[in-house]
Symmetry: C2
Subunit: 137 residues, 2 copies
Amino acid sequence: MRAKGGMTIGQAAVSSGVPPKTIRFYEEMGLVKPAERLANRYRAYDESNLQTLRFIRRARDLGFSLQEIDKLLALYRNRRRASEDVKRLALAHVAQLDHKIAELTRIRDTLADLARRCHGDQRPDCPILDDLERPRS
Amino acid sequence: MRAKGGMTIGQAAVSSGVPPKTIRFYEEMGLVKPAERLANRYRAYDESNLQTLRFIRRARDLGFSLQEIDKLLALYRNRRRASEDVKRLALAHVAQLDHKIAELTRIRDTLADLARRCHGDQRPDCPILDDLERPRS
DNA sequence: CCTTGACCTTCCAGTGGGGGGAGGCCATAT
DNA sequence: ATATGGCCTCCCCCCACTGGAAGGTCAAGG
């Protein structure tokens, strides 16, 4: 079954860190181009495909969306890219992250404060429920 | 159409901050009990329903999942609840938030560092793409 | 009386990023 | 010959909604 540099989807999954289901999903979404097929219809992957999958995996770990990754891949493959374009994408994502972190932190502090003021005993009085119940103007 | 304390789903939506679609969704999910119906099959809401919807809205704003809100609502309605139980739910959620914030912050710092080291000009060299390309052990 | 427009109703589909599992083919080891 | 296990496609599920289509209901205006 195995050609010289070829591997099945399972091998590619182990080697790239992207599960088989997810690889098929990326193919269906058009994020990666359809894999070559062996005579038995099994998908075949080589080092080049693997590199792409690892790239995607790392980008996902850094929180990029699949849309953003699509753009990153285009830049990655374009030898005449301007690093300016990559940097702009990255900084936009940093800004998104900052926004999300700020939002979660605000929520976290509010909730921690409410919890701090809650006795946490057998009595029913609870500032947390009081807050949830209180109508907002 | 309007009974004394009754309002339509649209009025309830404005007054609670929960959109009509979402109210129906909560009903279908069993998070709120099915609304009373008028003769014309329109859902009817009173102050009590409104209080529940505002409670849910606030809890969602604080990042609780619908499952968690279901538990919070049960505690809210139980006059013999122990504030301990509410506090435990809240602190578990704070812990989740802390975990998420730490993760996002780690990603943010990694990405900001890569972007800082990228020239961001017309040249193709880019530490960000270099990082994404690099195989992980 | 009729139309318009703003409501309301139900049902279906899609979002993002996959996971689980059915039912069937293929490859290898016993 | 058969038992495993990997691969194939296909469809459904998750979360928490959101949008849209098709149709019922109601008040106001001409």
